[in-house]
């Protein structure tokens, strides 16, 4: 084949249809916005029920995680996410799905080497780098308070 890798890269880019960015953004905005509104509605509800500030924050997260986990188990979440994209991925729902979906998938390999070992295969990096980031921010905050 006489074509060089660089030439072929250009040919590939030309032949490959791009992702529908505007459509994806609109979907992500609407679904992501809906999830955030749902979170706000839950917050108002829990405040009305008399939960304290910290309890409300935890209860909202737990509720959204629960809903996302159940929808993943019912094989509905991935169908919504195919259209919603970042709309379901970015909120805490995406994190719940990333933990529950491998847990379901790898149960065939048993509870220990299947569910236990593979459950955090996708979410693991989020936890690792999330923890590192929070340590760094804590450090920055501590330095500013010293000054």
């Amino acid at each position: 084949m006489s074509v060089t890798n660089a030439e072929y890269k250009k040919m590939t880019e030309k032949a490959s249809p791009p992702s529908k960015k505007i459509k994806n953004c609109v979907w992500a905005f609407c679904v992501g916005g809906f999830i955030c509104s749902l979170g706000q509605a839950l917050r108002t509800l829990f405040e009305y029920l008399g939960l304290s500030e910290t309890e409300v924050a935890a209860a909202v997260s737990v509720s959204l995680i629960f809903i996302a986990a159940v929808l993943t188990g019912l094989k509905v979440f991935d169908k919504i996410a195919r259209y919603a994209g970042a709309g379901t991925l970015v909120p805490i729902t995406g994190f719940a799905n990333a933990v529950v979906s491998p847990a379901i998938e790898f149960r065939q390999e048993g509870h220990i080497v299947g569910i236990g070992a593979r459950m955090f295969g996708i979410a693991g990096p989020v936890i690792v780098f999330g923890t590192i980031a929070s340590v760094l921010y804590g450090l920055i905050l501590w330095i500013f308070r010293l000054v």
Binding site: P17, S19, R82, N97
Partner: protein, 339 residues
């Protein structure tokens, strides 16, 4: 005996006959344009088994058993089976075939397995090393997704260049003599890597390998695309097919209207949500062992080139940032034995 022509091609003077063939598929493939031609459609993704891997093994065994049954022989009369699949260590083939007791050659050519197995089996039959040899291959959407990509229920978006791994299996039996169609020439493929790294654009990665093998075949034989009713590639999909045509035009070969791709034929790409088309070993095997061989048998086609394509990366090589080496093997299939 096989006779070498040029650097890459073998002419099979006795032209081994495709005695029988069969293919089975999953529900989505059953709803596709070729669905009615499959020997069996499995409505359930696990086919009643406890895992997708076991389901794939079952499908491979089923396709081969049906092909052998149609040939009028029993598994005990088959000299060798050449088989492979996409799963690690080829477990769909090994577990699927372990109870049949046929001497087994396990192959890995990724999605090129069907033409790879036919290339090897036809030489065995041609040379007299086997009087009956079988070829089989399979793939399963769910088993492939979890090995190569994400869990099934993970909420990700598919890119427009992505392809859908076919759930299904195809098998055929080759004999020294029979009603045909006949395998007349084969061209072994080289590993071709044009630097594509995108695992969601396999058609683009594989197109240069298909172009290379097709060009080598025409260079070796002096034949022209006009001599064929169809030049059938394995699973390039819409994107890869476009690129194959362009690459061959640069080499002064116009396959244009004669070109068909199993990945485009097996699904209704516009309405079945498969983006660029189908892929997987079961894609080319399924289309060949139903629609195409039926057409060759019924007189709808008289001479074709079948060139299945495979991407030879692994999840490990991709995670390490390596590009995707690809391969394509070609077999010439004729409805009638050349005089």
């Amino acid at each position: 005996m096989p006779k070498r022509i040029g650097r890459y091609t073998l002419r099979l003077e006795n032209s081994p006959a495709i005695l029988s063939y069969a293919a089975v598929a999953g529900k989505k493939e059953g709803l596709g344009p070729l669905g009615y031609e499959f020997d069996k459609i499995y409505e359930d993704t696990t086919a009643g088994e406890s895992s997708w891997e076991k389901a794939e093994s079952l499908m491979l065994r089923d396709a081969l058993s049906r092909a052998i049954e149609k040939s009028g022989y029993t598994p005990g009369s088959i000299n060798y089976v050449f088989a492979g699949d996409l799963l690690n260590q080829g477990i769909a083939s090994t577990y699927g075939l372990r109870d049949l007791g046929i001497p087994f050659f396990g192959l890995y050519g990724a999605c090129s397995n069907m033409s790879l197995s036919m290339t090897l089996a036809s030489v065995y039959v041609e040379s007299g090393a086997a009087s009956l040899a079988a070829c089989a291959t399979s793939s399963h959407f769910c088993a492939a997704e979890r090995q190569f990509r994400f869990p099934l229920e993970y909420g990700g978006q598919r890119t427009p260049t992505a392809q859908w791994t076919v759930t299904g299996a195809g098998a055929l039996v080759l004999a020294e003599d029979g009603p045909g169609p006949f395998i007349t020439r084969t061209t072994g493929g080289r590993i071709v890597d044009k630097g594509v790294r995108d695992m969601t654009n396999m058609g683009a990665a594989m197109a240069p390998a298909a172009a290379d093998t097709i060009k080598n075949f025409f260079d070796d034989t002096g034949a022209s695309p006009n001599d064929y009713d169809m030049i059938l590639t394995g699973d390039l999909g819409l994107v890869g097919s476009r690129l194959l045509n362009e690459l061959l035009k640069q080499e002064k070969l116009d396959i244009g209207e004669r070109h068909r791709d199993c990945g485009i034929l097996i699904f209704d790409c516009e309405n079945q949500d498969v983006e660029s088309g189908g892929s997987g070993c079961g894609c080319s095997a399924g289309v060949l062992c139903t629609h195409i061989l039926n057409l060759l048998r019924d007189g709808g086609l008289s001479k074709i080139l079948f060139c299945a394509t495979g991407a030879l990366m692994s999840p490990t090589s991709s995670q390490q940032g390596d590009s995707i080496p690809c391969i394509a093997h070609l077999v010439e299939i004729c409805a009638n034995r050349p005089q």
